[in-house]
């Protein structure tokens, strides 16, 4: 499997580390139901068979994080983008 890094072009999967689901959103720790929402955030996954947005780290390359959209049924990669830049408000923030 090769991953088309947005900075380096197509690179062998050996250069990357996998973190997992990129769609998870860190809950507001001040919310009344924060405990339940953090438990879901830390432990529960959609785990789809099909397109999956996931975080990969190009450790043996440009050392950037990437959001890769990959089909978990056949490893086809349809999109690669950078995550939201640091300092940007988290997704789901008011």
């Amino acid at each position: 499997m090769r991953i088309p890094c947005t900075h380096c072009g197509p690179r062998d999967v050996r250069e990357f580390s996998y973190l997992g689901d990129a769609t998870l959103q860190r809950p507001d720790p001040g919310a009344a139901d924060a405990l339940d929402r953090f438990a879901d955030y830390v432990y529960l996954r959609d785990n789809p068979s099909g397109p999956h947005q996931e975080l990969w780290y190009h450790g043996f390359g440009c050392q950037a994080w990437l959001v890769v959209t990959r089909d978990t049924a056949d490893h086809t990669i349809t999109a690669v983008r950078s995550p939201a830049p640091s300092g940007a408000p988290p997704r789901g923030a008011p």
Binding site: D12, Y18, Y43, L44, N47, S49, T72
Partner: protein, 416 residues
Amino acid sequence: MRYSALSLALSAITGHRTSTPAWRDAAPRAAYRVVVIGGGGHGLATAYYLAKEHGITDVAVLEKGWIGSGNAGRNTTIIRSNYLLDGNIPFYEWSMKLWEGLERDLNFNTMVSQRGVLNLYHSDAQRDAFARRGNAMRLNGVDAALIDRDHVGALAPFLDLDGARFPIRGGLLQRRGGTARHDAVVWGYARGADRRGVDIVQSCEVTGLRIAGGRVTGVETTRGAIGADKVAIAVAGSSSRVAALAGLRLPIESHVMQAFVSEGVKPLIDQVITFGAGHFYISQSDKGGLVFGGDIDGYNSYAQRGNLPTVEDVCEGGMAMMPRLGRLRILRGWGGLVDMSMDGSPIIDRTPVSGLYFNGAWNYGGFKATPASGWCFAHLIARDEPHPVAAPYRLDRFRSGRLIDERGAGAQPNLH
């Protein structure tokens, strides 16, 4: 027909012309008391013990493919109970005890071979960790022996005992561990369940769960709707997909795990041996092939096939442990889907939907657990209360903080 030496000999003399299928190819009925989704080892064992231990024979096992087509035919056949944590040891030891009596119980040759499982250690720190593990096992009544380098060398002289990088200092040996014939396990359970009246329905994929008022009432399948008082999910590898039919999200990621077999050679490796400085384990099948594997590929996958980096990693581990492996050719490699859970331990529990039960999250340890998994899941389904040795395997243990994390890796499934 009950098998015996006499019946097998008579069958052989007559060219097996009188042999009959070991189980019926049942068509689904309109309704059952219990429907088990998944005709792998765990689902079939569940049906078998429901019938045998609890007298519940109005049971169907629904299998998408055919018996033996999934993970039951993709594992490395190792059985052991060398765990560290109190939440795991009693369960896996109960499984070990069931393995020890399985052939007599099933009247089927599952080729259980207690040839020993040897975990190698390569440093003082690793020896201390293995001593702790061995002591935890012995405190729970499980056999364990810490052996030194010379003892390892006597058992397995072909290992790279004094390699400069990973010298072998000794090992933790569970003599009662070993291997079993994976296909025979599902065949034996299928036959045993069928003989007690269970319907085994193949080529029957579950496409939906019928739920009314928070209670399950049946399943939709590719062979029509089937009513059920209770529905039991035992589809490790695809657990999230089936649970999603009930609107549930699970603490599970599906990953692919590869395994390999070499060309057949004369008897070479007596035990199951695992490498302590990497992730590699190997044993020899009765047919002569060396069966081995290592890490999962490490990313979410439903592909049932892996990638080359993991093949190389497994082979590098093998070469570091046992250099003569390099003279053998790999005959076959394959991939199976595993439920990797958030603490590396399984789940056997009720679900928020009344009458719907879940068994899964076996990570890459499902085969050895087959008998106890079926035993405990049947107990849960029949009595609506967890079996004592499986009581820690709760679905809500993640939220409540009662995790069973052997590896200590945290909520990162590809690290367990």
